[in-house]
């Protein structure tokens, strides 16, 4: 059986955790002052790839588009996933890229890694919020796209993947859809994803790989390849500013929303009131689809 090759595309993001963010006087992010880290969604995607390593012995390549300093973030990702290869796509002409131009770089970058069975990405970035890069990269790579994945298993023999997706239907959240797709696939990991290791051997492998990850990450440069636009053979017309159709006109602070819910206060002091509450609950529940 051929081994499974996985790629993870990750993103360098400002550290929004307590005490690490710095703002300019006008309320915009002070990028120079704010520490940069592996984005939280990227970290979850990386952990999801690690699952494939522990369970199926998959090979992991991690790629990112970013400035040279992004290499320390790749080190973080290696620490999480025991990645076998790290790729940094770095070039001045990538600057000013919107999601589409970024997807072009990532597509070319992933192709440079070799033939991939699964490509993982985070759900979205915490500084961009668009959630488009993943799907766009998948589209450019011509891969089946599976979004909001909370669990997945690979069938090595049939070379298929079975995934559970958290989907939203008719305005109702938390519906789990189970699907099967032939490899290769592109998986965008849901933020609620958590790897489950159910057997002793998986737990032991987990420990073993973690230890290896720790050792590898200490010498992460040994695993790192830095490529520019030419090296990844990206089409110059489709990358950087020239490949970015998006124009950000203005970013505004989010205005405080008006409350749209209406509350009715029921005291609950007597039987009659309680009955009213129960009736209201019944009414609301009847409109929900509960599995």
């Amino acid at each position: 059986m051929d081994p499974i090759n996985t790629a993870v595309i990750v993103k360098l993001e400002p550290d929004f955790s307590e005490g690490n963010v710095s703002y300019n006087p006008d309320g915009t992010l002070n990028r120079a002052e704010t520490k940069n880290i592996l984005g939280p969604h990227s970290a979850i995607a990386t952990a999801a790839a690690f699952y494939a390593k522990v369970k199926y012995g998959a090979k992991i390549s991690i790629g990112t588009m970013g400035p040279p300093m992004a290499e320390s973030m790749l080190q973080q990702a290696q620490l999480i996933s025991d990645a076998d290869d790290l790729y940094l796509y770095s070039d001045r002409i990538f600057a000013g890229a919107d999601t589409l131009a970024t997807a072009e770089v990532l597509k070319s970058g992933v192709q440079k890694m070799g033939k991939m069975d699964i490509v993982f990405s985070g759900h979205r970035a915490s500084d961009g919020e668009t959630g488009q890069t993943g799907p766009q990269t998948a589209w450019k790579l011509g891969m089946t796209f599976l979004g909001h994945v909370i669990e997945y298993e690979i069938n090595l023999e049939n070379r298929t993947v079975r995934a559970k997706r958290l989907v939203r239907m008719q305005g109702i959240y938390d519906i789990v859809e189970e699907i099967e797709a032939p490899l290769p696939v592109f998986i965008a990991i849901d933020p609620s994803y958590k790897s489950k290791f159910n057997t002793v051997s998986q737990r032991l492998d987990y420990e073993r790989y973690q230890k290896e990850a720790f050792e590898r990450a200490k010498n992460f440069k040994q695993y790192l390849k830095v490529f520019n636009a030419v090296q990844i053979e990206a089409d110059p017309k489709l990358i950087g500013i020239s490949g970015s159709p998006t124009i950000v006109y203005k970013v505004e602070r989010i205005p405080k929303g008006k409350a749209t819910r209406q509350a009715e206060v029921i005291d609950g002091a007597n039987q009659e009131d309680i009955r009213k509450v129960v009736a209201r609950l019944r009414q609301s529940l009847s409109t929900m689809v509960i599995k």
Partner: protein, 622 residues
Amino acid sequence: MEKYDVAIIGGGSAGLAALKQLSALGKQVILFEAGNKIGSKNISGGILYSKKPKKGKTYNVEDIFENFLNDAPFERKITKYILHATSKDKVFSIDLTAAHEYEANFGCSVLMNKLNQWFSQQAGEAAQKQGGGIVSGVHVNSIRWEGERTIIQTDELEEIEVKAIIAADGVNSEVAYMTGARQKFSPSELYQGVKVVVKLPEEIINQRFSIEQDDGAAHLFAGDVTLDHIGGGFLYTNRDTLSLGAVYHFDSLLETPVEPYELVNTLLKNPMISEFVKDEVPVRSEIDKDLPKEEQMRIRFAVTKMIKNWSELRDVYYSKKEKERLVREGKYGSAEEIESQLSSLRDQMSTKYNIKFDTDYVEAEYSAKLVPDGKRCRMEKPYFKNILFVGDAAGRGIFVGPRIEGLNVGIDDGARAANAVARALDKGNFANNYLGEYYSQSVEESPYTHDLKAIDKDYLKIFLDAAKDVPKDIISSKYGLVVKMMSSNTLRSFAVGFANILGYEKLLPIIETVDTYVKVPTELAERLGKSISTSYTPTIPSIGQRVAKLNFNDDSVSHIKVLKPTSEFMKNMVTLCPTKCYIMEKEGVMIQHEGCVECGTCSEQTDWKHPRGEKGINYQYG
């Protein structure tokens, strides 16, 4: 179903020693530990001894973990061992260093979280080489036999099949209960231990206890601090903390119940101990309520951060090694620079935020656990089918004189069990007469078992020598004759020999009494003690504050079910649960399991299990 050769249940010091030894013998072993990380569930006093027996052989910590002395994060080697008899502000002290050194290569203070993690690194590495390893966060919930097969079920993972099991799951061993290998220990067979870890910078400890850099002191307490219970207090110096605890016979506590933390608090209020634990403590001033909310918040954060920086830097300042390290690493230019930075930080604290400095003490962690009294409850045959019991699970704690020994005994048991299992694996024979009996015999030959069965007249002499200046009339007429007899060499040999024939356990009711632990020491202190004064009153946290400081991973379901809500025993739990998990309701006692530190005190009359994997208490010191 996955198959492994051996499973060890429980990753305390006993289980980890077994893992190391079996792996060193080339066997494949899996160790299951319920805690989310090794060390998070273990507590001790604790002094870890390395034994030098006059007869026979023990497997000592440094035999199992070869680089223990060079590399292990133990705290200090204890070089002073002093017993204090107390009565109010009076203290009479007896140097018992000879008793501490008796048959010992060394005895060092330890904190279990740190130490067990180190053990697990060593043992885990050895295990990995043989295709085994440590699996933490997994709680074993049942074991069954299907023909030749032994199957282990856990709350978290798929079942596995093994050939033999070592049960190292501690004093509240579920493996023992679920297999019926032994009954639950009864109160007369147990001690309840309660401990607090107190912070104190390293060099202040050196000075205050008159000890050298790597040396340590142990102080034991009996007399009125026992609040009339059988047992006593201990204070051991760690590197930059103190372990202060109370260990009392469970029977004695049930007879006249008192809150376990009150026993610790009584120790803290003793002037000698107040002076031992005192330190300089920053006190925040009230934040002006008229300031805008955000400003108040900012100040609160800033003050917290500053106090943290100050106390970390102060720890460095008071540690020779740390100071040297940071200067060597170029973080500071010189030791003086650290000092001046510390004092400027202190100035800033008082000028900028009006922080005052007061004399008080700093408590870091509260903990509790039962300890088995091996003289009374050790398993005569510590096995069941192909399961071997080790350490506390086999009830093998030694209480002779003020020394408590459980860690070293568990390590010795662990090694013996490992040897027995390795031998059985080689032959493929796990029958009682090949595995269980062999182990049982090996344990029987252990010098520790001898200590549990018989009085050692040479050890006894040390106490008699130490007490030779004690006026004879203090020791009541009951003891007068005994002491006289024991003081003569020939008579002592004869008497001890006779006593050992009679049976050690028959003598216990005479030795372990309120007279020995309370009356005699109290009178000694009153008549001969020196008055000690203290300049402050320690601010002792309430039990609520203590519990709030602990780190729990709450489980939605309770791991304890009350079976007899109206029994006398359960009513006593309202007082005797160290973290106040029980309350009295009309229809009997009720448990609130959040806040349970899994000590086992209420186990006898409850359906008692450890929480599921990763759940429950996570000790930081232990």
